[in-house]
């Protein structure tokens, strides 16, 4: 097959995008899953879609390619471009524009033979007219019915087709839907769908939306920038922001976009209260097949960038989490009669889940954690920081200079990174899991040593 910048399955490109964006330190030789040619093709595709963000570095191990994106500066998630690279046949695109045109008028409903006549007439003007057979056109119309853009109705024994009604959308456009799409395409789950809608702003209302600011890299395909080099995007404002939209996003994890297909399926399973079969591609348990699970909720970590599925696994008789980026495939199964019951159980567990873990290593059903921080007269904001960030814990102000946090959770180890953000103020700490407490102390000692802080007051530099 000759190279094409379009792809048939997103799964094929998902791993490469993740490697280039999240990791970005591997050299060509290290991409061993596929052949070298496959790597070259995928790298070329990613460069074609996201050339503005591609960087090239040189290390002792060889040349490496990575994507470097400051999501606070780029107003639109550049990774959405990859979702707009689905391959199709010459017939698909030709039929699409003719069928949408032939059925353009809201009142127009045509039979298949009428559509065929119209289609043949339009194509007859070309030197070597392409002819479509009836079954191909019928198949395409049926596909469009499934997608919701065409509708069929039987009149007598004849099936008539028309375009789906667009009035509600026109009304939304008329009332200014674009601002909220600009926001939710970044802030809501499956935001790529919002990005698809935003693309209509240009093609349907004749207004540019700047969402293609990451494209057009082919014009500079010879411009292989070394790491650190940057090209100013056309829409870049003086303050360094790209594009001219109304919104920017801080602490904005865009990685989840790569899992949109998986997330969409899981949402469907929840909506229809169905079992799923899961296959993980990597992760803590390595390759793992879970033949039966009941998806209960998707949890998004706003400080870790990770997305998790919380699911009841009948085989293990418990609720557990799966990272969506580790899920290779999701297959929808039968309806689950106990869905509501399992979800109720999960909701009852939430007051004791800090992140996503439902089981600690101590073997205790619930683990206790508490720590006390001290602060000065002008540092009352520390107390309020604890209150703001406490999640399922409680905070008590002991006096005007000390506050105590405590929580009963399934897995206290999930709190450790957060507790470390209070280092320099912690005057007391206690975990019911003694091993965890010991590890916390050891880690702290190791940090002192790493930064040259000796065992006593003296410092080694």
């Amino acid at each position: 097959m000759p190279y094409s910048e379009l792809v048939k399955n997103f799964g094929r490109i998902r791993d490469y995008l993740r490697e280039f964006y999240v990791y970005g330190f591997k050299s060509r030789e290290e991409y061993t899953q596929k052949s070298a040619r496959s790597y070259d093709d995928e790298r070329r595709r990613v460069e074609s879609w996201l050339g503005d963000y591609m960087r090239f570095g040189k290390t002792a191990e060889g040349k490496n390619v990575f994507l470097s994106i400051d999501s606070r500066v780029s107003q639109r998630n550049p990774l959405y471009q990859a979702w707009k690279a689905k391959s199709f046949t010459d017939g698909d695109i030709t039929l699409h524009f003719y069928l949408m045109d032939i059925l353009y008028e809201p009142g127009t409903a045509l039979s298949l033979s009428e559509i065929m006549d119209e289609l043949d007439g339009r194509l007859a003007g070309f030197q070597q007219p392409r002819l479509f057979d009836e079954s191909t056109v019928r198949k395409k119309l049926k596909e469009y019915e499934r997608e919701g853009i065409a509708v069929s109705e039987k009149r007598g024994r004849v099936l008539y087709f028309r375009r789906a009604d667009g009035k509600a959308w026109e009304e939304l456009v008329g009332r200014g839907v674009w601002d909220c799409l600009e926001f939710f395409s970044e802030a809501a789950p499956c935001g790529v769908i919002g990005s698809y809608l935003l693309d209509r702003k240009e093609t349907e209302s004749g207004q540019g939306n700047g969402s293609r600011q990451g494209n057009g890299s082919g014009r500079q395909s010879g411009d292989r920038r070394q790491s650190g080099g940057r090209r100013q995007s056309g829409g870049r404002r003086q303050n360094g922001r790209q594009g001219n939209g109304c919104f920017a996003f801080k602490h904005h994890y865009i990685t989840g976009a790569m899992d949109s297909e998986i997330v969409c399926l899981l949402l469907q399973a929840m909506r229809e209260k169905r079992f799923v079969a899961l296959e993980t591609a990597r992760g803590f348990h390595g390759r793992e097949t879970v033949p039966e699970a009941v998806p209960l909720q998707l949890r998004f970590g706003v400080q870790s960038g990770r997305q998790y599925l919380m699911a009841y696994v009948p085989g293990k008789r418990r609720v557990r989490s799966f990272r969506t980026d580790n899920l290779g495939t999701v297959k929808l199964g039968e309806n689950c009669g106990q869905f509501d019951e399992y979800r109720k159980i999960f909701q009852g567990m939430l007051p004791h889940i800090w992140g996503v873990s439902t089981q600690g290593r101590s073997g205790q059903r619930l683990e206790h954690v508490e720590f006390t921080v001290a602060y000065g007269f002008h540092e009352q904001h520390i107390h309020w920081r604890l209150v703001r960030e406490r999640q399922c814990g409680t905070v008590e102000q002991l006096d005007e200079h000390t506050s105590r946090f405590q929580a009963e959770v399934y897995d206290a180890s999930e709190l450790v990174p957060w507790i470390r953000t209070f280092l320099c103020r912690i005057v007391d700490i206690h975990f019911s899991d003694k091993k965890l407490e010991e590890q916390f102390g050891k880690d702290l000692e190791q940090m002192y040593q790493m930064y040259g802080l000796g065992p006593e007051e003296g410092e080694k530099r």
């Binding site: 030709t94 524009f97 939304l172 093609t203 293609r212 949402l267 103020r425």
Partner: protein, 318 residues
Amino acid sequence: MIFSELYSAYYQTVAAILRKAVRRPLDRGELRRMVEEHAFGESLLQIEPAFREGRWPLLRADGTTPIRHSPTMPLTTLEKQWLNAIWADPRMQLFWPAGECGELEIPFPGIPPLFSPEDVSYFGQYADGDDYGSAVYRRHFTQVLDAVKGRYPLRIAMASGRKQLLHILMQPEYLEYSEKDDKFRVIGFGPRYRETVNVGRIIRCERCGDGEELRGRREVHPMGSVTFTVTDERNALERVLMHFAHFEKQAERVDGKTYQVTVRYHKDDETEMVIRLLSFGPLVKVTAPQHFEELIRERLRSQRHSQVFFQDKPGRER
């Protein structure tokens, strides 16, 4: 299907080309420019020959088209489902007025939303997020958004962090949302300085004077960078790189288990960067710049001093 050619850059590009061609013949130069503007880096190599060779019989050799209407496509069911889902988000009230009964009416009745509020949740989000249900907040948000779009200055009265009343003249440039804080901030500039105002702290805001765009200093955010090593134990490398994924960054392997990472950040957020790096404990070691390393060391030094701590505390159960 979420991954479908219906939403593809190629279909969008061809729609844009045909939109012009239904009005007047399109020349080759225009076609090329449109492909470069709308599609990907190498799309021209595919799209132009496809038209020229008649594989996509949508444009005649003279640049006209048998297509009669400017191309549009009805919404797919997936798009309607997503729109219905976001309509249930409390933040939607900022953009869309509620109906007579005080609730937002979903735009596509009869179509199940892609997700319901109980299908998704966020963790790590701060508890003092903005009050989207407040009519006053919504009025301020709407005014600011209008000023951003209309490019006119605002006179803002706001409460400072120390509860003092401040008056600011500001040309808003954009609204910045943080999912972690669950807050909107207005970013813009005043006559002398760059300004950032939390929408939630606005007490009053109104269009200023004749509404002419303010000529102030549009400073670029000063940037800093920090370099640190990561020891890949307890899955640290993956956690670190995911955690800092939203920054511009570069990672390279130093040896089998050690990696060096450089992250560029806004200087204003330096304290936040310090505590984020501290959260990884001994698996991350800041190596440059020196002042950043010193910030970490200072915190650890203070910790050592404040540590009456568990292993030293008399009578403490070990």
